[in-house]
């Protein structure tokens, strides 16, 4: 098995992770509303076929009450506090949120108790399990209706299976899921998580109340320590099997579309080192992250009017760097659009001349824009909490977070070199959604080095597609 940490790259998350316990970060705001965000270092990613989908099923079951309270009673109890509680999953981590207004005379200890019972003893019965499984299957099937989701999700499933050995959540896997396995996954990965991070926006007077809620719900995680400087949680590490030579183009065969949703996603073998982190983020901002002010936005939409949406892909996949774009050219312009996209990908990442050729004035303007954007993010309590959450999940290094934003620095050579080497050690998955007969020759013409795979779109949620 290849080494996960290449010599030139250092794991961000391995640098220093949090001690066991609950990290608490509070942002004061006078509005009498408490907003708590908790990150648990466990997500839906699974390496065991029998566990695929278990966490997703549990995220639905959490809404269904507790061992002693059925759904309606439990939801009524939360509503009596005006409370809203959600639980969402990413690949490697999950986010538990709670929001409620502060009202005189309410016994918030009771609220904490309901939530604690829900977390530790959710209402996992044959009935609730059956309903949750059906809902997850319905969600998977319904994802076929959104072309953007169809292209990007299929690419990610492909990357997960082929480059990381993961087990994508598919209809057949969900159907094979067992209640007992689901319960075991919940208790092992979520209730039993060793360290968690909590960010809160609330009036400062409510801190004792917040401590009560956190310490009761997340009792297994131990002591609460207030921290202004967050530390990364110990997320599960998923080593890559990426060779860097894999370039695949998936054609999701779905005739009768009026647009050709197109995405290109790269996933790198190694993680960013400390000098690459800022360079990669800024490079992505210049190319596509800066929206319609970016190079890709300008070329695809502003100059040519080929598509409405031009957006970057998520910057990390399973903790590994990810580059690329998603866009929706209209069908009659698919040929021109794919030609433009191929050129942009080549000159943006593969042989990155775009960054090198950028006029000095544009470079300076983009840098100022990027830094202003970061400052704007930090200008609201929610923005500051979100930034700390990025540190907790390993998407922003503590070193960069702690440095004053106006002191952040990178240069053109660094950006060019980081994009180039990241792309070179990445697997790339392109995807188009539309009529395969029409799209296959276009993909072959504009992406000649990519291996083309045609997938009937309904098969994208079946395991056989990823064998």
């Amino acid at each position: 098995m290849r080494a996960v940490i290449a010599a030139a790259f250092v794991f961000l998350v391995a640098a220093s992770t949090a001690d066991a316990g609950i990290q608490l970060s509070l942002e004061s705001d006078p509005l009498p509303l408490v907003e708590i965000t908790v990150v648990i270092p466990a997500g839906f990613e699974s390496a065991r076929p029998e566990e695929a989908g278990a966490a997703s099923v549990m995220s639905d079951i959490l809404d269904g009450g507790t061992a002693t309270l059925n759904r309606e009673t439990y939801q009524d109890r939360l509503a009596s506090f005006g409370a809203s509680n959600d639980f969402t999953l990413s690949n490697l981590y999950s986010v538990w949120t709670l929001q409620f207004p502060i009202v005189e005379g309410k016994d918030y200890g009771a609220l904490a108790d309901h939530l604690a019972e829900n977390w530790k003893s959710p209402r996992l019965t044959d009935e609730t399990f059956g309903i949750a499984v059906r809902k997850l299957a319905a969600t998977l099937t319904a994802s076929l209706d959104s072309d953007m989701s169809l292209g990007v999700s299929t690419s990610r499933r492909w990357a997960d299976r082929k480059f990381f050995g993961g087990v994508p959540i598919t209809l057949d896997r969900v159907a094979a899921l067992h209640k007992e396995t689901t319960a075991a996954v919940w208790n092992r990965d979520f209730v039993g998580a060793t360290d968690i991070w909590a960010g809160v926006v609330a009036p400062p007077e409510s801190l004792p109340l917040i401590r009560t809620v956190l310490s009761r719900v997340f009792a297994a995680q131990g002591e609460i320590s207030e921290r202004s400087k967050p530390a990364p949680l110990a997320l599960r590490e998923v080593p890559a099997r990426v060779s860097g030579a894999d370039q695949i183009f998936l054609i999701l065969d779905k005739p009768d579309r009026t647009q050709t949703m197109t995405s290109i996603i790269s996933v790198a073998r190694d993680r960013y080192g400390s000098s690459d982190e800022l360079a990669a983020e800024f490079g992505t901002y210049v190319l596509v992250g800066g929206g319609l002010g970016s190079i890709f936005g300008e070329e695809i939409r502003t100059k040519r009017g080929l598509a409405y949406a031009v957006s970057p892909v998520q910057p990390f996949f399973l903790g590994h760097p990810s580059l690329g774009l998603a866009t929706n050219p209209v069908r009659p312009k698919s040929d021109e659009a794919l030609e433009v996209i191929a050129k942009l990908v080549e000159t943006g990442y593969d042989k990155p001349s775009l960054i090198h050729d950028l006029p000095a004035e544009t470079w300076d303007r983009q840098w100022k824009s990027y830094i202003y954007g970061k400052l704007l993010d930090r200008s609201t309590p929610e923005g500051r909490i979100e930034e700390r959450m990025e540190v907790a999940v390993g998407e922003l290094s503590p070193e960069l977070y702690q440095r004053k934003i106006t002191d952040w620095k990178t240069d053109r050579d660094q950006v060019k070199s980081t994009l180039e080497k990241t792309w070179a050690q990445s697997a790339v998955v392109g995807a188009v959604v539309g009529d395969a007969k029409e799209l296959e020759p276009l993909v072959a013409k504009h992406f000649p080095r990519y291996r083309v795979v045609v997938i009937p779109y309904r098969d994208s949620i079946l395991s056989k597609t990823y064998q």
């Binding site: 006078p30 509005l31 009498p32 509303l33 907003e35 809404d63 269904g64 309606e72 939801q75 009524d76 509503a79 506090f81 005006g82 409370a83 809203s84 929001q99 207004p101 502060i102 009202v103 005189e104 309903i131 809902k135 319905a138 969600t139 099937t141 319904a142 209706d145 072309d147 009036p203 007077e205 409510s206 005739p255 579309r257 009026t258 647009q259 800066g290 929206g291 319609l292 002010g293 936005g297 502003t302 100059k303 040519r304 009017g305 080929l306 598509a307 409405y308 949406a309 929706n328 209209v330 069908r331 303007r365 100022k368 824009s369 202003y372 400052l375 704007l376 200008s379 609201t380 929610e382």
Partner: protein
């Protein structure tokens, strides 16, 4: 020092129609050159909204200082939306919203310019309004105001840019309306519900009309509707009222009002009964939309309608969620019951689970609607109102959201504190009022459109 509890009490105590108005402190001058103060609103303790008007231009200005944030949210709401469009030129208000990002004399590349200031900008078009918004660092406030004022009257337009932007709009239409099941459903619903009123056609417009619209149409539209006397500027953030007035005078002070003849808006004829239509599309699930003609901004039923829609279709606490989603028939429920200038649609939406046929979903939905009044108790209503309040409050922490709410509310109703008063009215709605209003929901003119899976896309009709 105010305690959070006092703030809560203060908010709940707001009267439905009397946001506290004061003459204003000395820091907010009653006059500054062409601007004179109309009122100071205090819809929530600790939040002041200073309302000024420039008599020469008719421009309305709202300022709400939030010291220490280091940023300023700038929102401009124009009193023009799809309701002013003519037959054969639908989609023009939205297309023009795109054009507003295509350059002025001193700001030839707005996307780049706005990105320079941090990239937090966007715009949207509704049937009633067009709203532009930016969040900028305090030190770029003057520049941003310079840009906003220049594009109000001195937009630089060319036929080439018009054609390019039309291409982007066509792509947006295909993504949001033609290939999207929910987008298609909403399009069909409004087309089917209305006979004459311009709300019939969603702001994205007909493809045929987008194709037929000429550059001159866009110019005429701009000259007619983009004027200071049809605009509200809202500023929220790290600035004083005096600073705001000084810069507003600098950039907008020389503007004059444009003459404007209010277009005649077709009145929707009254009708009775239910209209029902099934539309086949390439989709995995049946989606059902059930709508009534809803309340206007001035209608006290707006708060009741919003509560009814949420009580029915909130994804956690809504009755339909319990009856349909938790019983394996539906994947999700939702609602849209906001107020409009003219009666819009209050909509309940149910997305079936794949494989659940139309008849089964519709029968279950109708049955649940019948049982809903007996499920709703005074205790449930009180709990739900608190939950509703918390959901709405969350967004008030955001300066941009606050600025948008103020500007849009003022442009649509003449009252910048409308959102706050609406929340206060929601808190006062009684079970009896809901039961009474439900009779209207059940017996007034209703429109139901159901999207159903088909092997191929049934093409969207190009025009009527």
């Amino acid at each position: 020092m105010r305690t959070p509890l006092l703030l809560l009490v203060a908010l709940l105590a707001i009267s439905a129609c009397s946001a506290h108005r004061t003459a204003g402190p000395a820091a907010a001058p009653s006059e500054y050159k062409g601007f004179h103060r109309i009122e100071v609103l205090e819809p929530v303790a600790g939040l002041s909204i200073y309302h000024y008007r420039n008599d020469a231009s008719g421009l309305e200005l709202l300022v709400s200082p939030k010291p220490g944030t280091g940023t300023v949210a700038i929102v401009t709401a124009y009193e023009v939306g799809a309701r002013f469009e003519l037959n054969g030129r639908t989609g023009l208000a939205h297309l023009f919203e795109h054009m507003m990002f295509r350059g002025t004399e001193h700001f030839p590349k707005p996307f780049e310019t706005l990105s320079d200031w941090g990239g937090r900008f966007n715009a949207y078009t509704t049937p009633d309004l067009t709203v532009y918004h930016e969040l900028v660092p305090k030190e770029r406030f003057n520049d941003a105001l310079d840009f906003e004022s220049e594009r109000m009257r001195k937009l630089r337009l060319t036929p080439e840019v018009f054609d390019t932007e039309r291409g982007a709009v066509v792509s947006e239409r295909k993504m949001r309306t033609e290939d999207s099941p929910s987008g298609r459903l909403f399009w069909e619903l409004y087309q089917f519900a209305y006979d004459r009123h311009p709300y019939k056609t969603a702001p994205i417009g007909w493809q045929k009309d987008l194709d037929a619209t000429k550059f001159q149409d866009a110019l005429d539209f701009y000259n007619r509707f983009y004027a200071p006397n049809r605009a509200v500027v809202s500023l929220v953030g790290d600035l004083t009222v005096s600073e705001a007035l000084e810069q507003m005078d600098r950039y907008y002070g020389s503007m004059t009002r444009s003459s404007f003849e209010e277009p005649a808006i077709a009145v929707e004829p009254a009708r009775q009964g239910i209209r029902r239509k099934v539309v086949p599309m390439k989709t995995e699930s049946v989606i059902l939309a059930d709508a009534i003609f809803g309340a206007t901004y001035n209608d006290p039923n707006a708060a009741t309608d919003s509560l009814i829609a949420s009580l029915l279709a909130d994804d956690k606490l809504g009755y339909l969620s319990d009856q349909l989603v938790e019983r394996g028939l539906a994947r999700g429920v939702g609602s849209d019951a906001g107020a409009n200038i003219d009666p819009g649609l209050s909509i309940v939406l149910v997305t079936g689970n794949p494989g659940v046929p139309v008849a089964r979903l519709e029968q279950a939905y109708d049955s649940a609607r019948k049982k809903f009044p007996s499920w709703l108790t005074a205790e449930r209503l009180d709990n739900f109102k608190l939950y509703y309040l918390a959901e709405q409050w969350e967004s008030m922490r955001d300066p941009m959201h606050l600025a948008e709410g103020m500007a849009a509310a003022h442009a649509a109703t003449g009252n910048a504190a409308w959102d706050f008063q609406f929340l206060a009215r929601v808190q006062k709605v009684t079970l009896e009022e809901i039961r009474e209003r439900l009779k209207y929901w059940d017996t007034s003119a209703r429109t139901r459109v159901i999207l159903t899976p088909a092997a191929r896309n049934a093409p969207l009709e190009r025009s009527k």
